[in-house]
């Protein structure tokens, strides 16, 4: 890319070592926010100082599902909605790994909604990054479980009348140990939340709101990706530790962002080891005790 003999500075984009560069430019539309969340994730990986051989990234299907294909980590592009079960298996087979599930709102909360609920209930040691663009992007803008009331979509031409999910509330109620929501406008905060998520043991749920200029914004006449970012900038309010009941989203209304939940619960593996040790005593050999990279 550059000659660096004269000046002793490395002239390379800090994201590039984390990407499969032969696959760029990527397929995301102009103004799509997913690439920005990837930037934040790579900054978090750099700051965490983790051994990248011990990080695996799992994605489902969809626009955000492409992230696994572009990241130069051990990555898996799984079937639709099944990113969390796949990641659970990966984590339990190799407890030394830090497994990150990077997927979209449709993949995680609609097709894989059941898995999200149960992985959070079990407190599986996974980090979930849910890029929420309020629609099914790749298939043409159908109504997703996160589409706010009143928003127009391909399958709701007169406006959506289905009550949407409040994803942080769902994750919190199911027992996630870390729940945060940031938008693509809050890049530094999002990178910090991802760093905290990488270091946290247990079920981490980070919702990253991202614009979809091609489908969601166009159908609702909301302008470009940058117009959505300006809306995030104007209407978002940082309330750390807010009650997740109150952080639901409305169409172009106020957005509550922040770190909502940060608590400690025994992970599934810890609970299993503790339970069987109580039951069987010395006979039981605990499984994967060095997991979590701590």
């Amino acid at each position: 890319m550059t000659e660096t003999e004269v000046c002793d500075v490395e002239l390379e984009n800090p994201v590039m070592p984390y990407l499969r560069q032969e696959r760029l430019p990527h397929i995301w539309c102009p103004g799509c926010g997913i690439g920005t969340t990837v930037n934040c994730f790579t900054r978090a990986l750099t700051d965490s100082g983790m051994d990248l051989d011990k990080v695996a990234i799992v994605s489902g299907i969809g626009c955000t599902g492409r992230v696994a294909g572009y990241m130069n980590l051990d990555s898996f592009h799984t079937t639709h909605g099944r990113a969390i079960p796949f990641a659970t298996g990966l984590k339990l087979a190799n407890p030394d790994l830090k497994v990150v599930v990077y997927s979209g709102d449709g993949d995680l909360s609609a097709i894989g909604g059941n898995h999200l609920v149960h992985a959070a209930r079990r407190n599986m040691d996974l980090m979930i990054v849910c890029v929420n663009n309020f629609t099914y992007g790749m298939t043409g803008g159908q109504v997703a479980p996160t589409t706010p009331l009143g928003a127009t979509q391909t399958t709701m031409p007169y406006g959506n009348f289905e009550n949407p999910f409040n994803l942080p509330f769902l994750a919190d109620a199911c027992g996630a140990v870390y729940v945060a929501r940031w938008t693509v406008y809050h890049v530094k905060q999002l990178a910090k939340a991802m760093l905290e998520g990488l270091r946290k043991k247990g079920f981490v749920f980070i919702e990253a709101m991202a614009p979809c200029p091609t489908l969601y914004s166009r159908r609702n006449r909301l302008g470009d990706g940058v117009d959505q970012l300006k809306y995030y900038k104007e209407k978002s309010k940082v309330v750390n530790g807010a009650d997740t009941k109150d952080v639901g989203l409305t169409f172009q209304g106020e957005i509550t962002v922040g770190k909502f939940v940060d608590r400690d619960r025994p992970t599934w593996l810890d609970a299993m080891n503790e339970h069987y040790t109580q039951h069987f005593g010395e006979k039981y050999v605990p499984y994967g005790v060095s997991h979590g990279q701590d």
Partner: protein, 98 residues
């Protein structure tokens, strides 16, 4: 750039890969120093890419690099303006960095 070099600003510059830019203008709209602007030229796909319109204002904070969804731009801060000039002269993808 006319009356002497400013001391604090101007130590940074940005590097752009025009061929992967999709012209979303995130970097231009959210640059804290407002030093980026659209180029007059097009890239191969017909998008206007960002150029450093006011290089004397760039602090090299790399917020453009953090925002860019296409990994097409990044900022870098140098020890002094001379080093920044050398680096900018070397990099082939810098449109207006000197």
């Amino acid at each position: 750039m006319s009356d002497g070099e400013p001391v604090k600003k101007g130590k940074g510059t940005v590097f752009v890969k025009p061929e992967v830019c999709k012209g979303c203008s995130y970097c231009i709209d959210f640059c804290p120093a407002h030093c980026l602007e659209f180029s007059r030229e097009f890239n191969r796909k017909g998008y206007h890419f960002p150029v450093l319109g006011r290089p004397e204002d760039c602090t090299g904070c790399d917020l453009c690099g953090l925002y860019c969804p296409d990994f097409a731009i990044f900022g870098m801060r140098f020890k002094d303006i001379e080093q920044r000039r050398q680096a900018a002269a070397l990099a082939p993808q810098v449109p207006a960095g000197s």
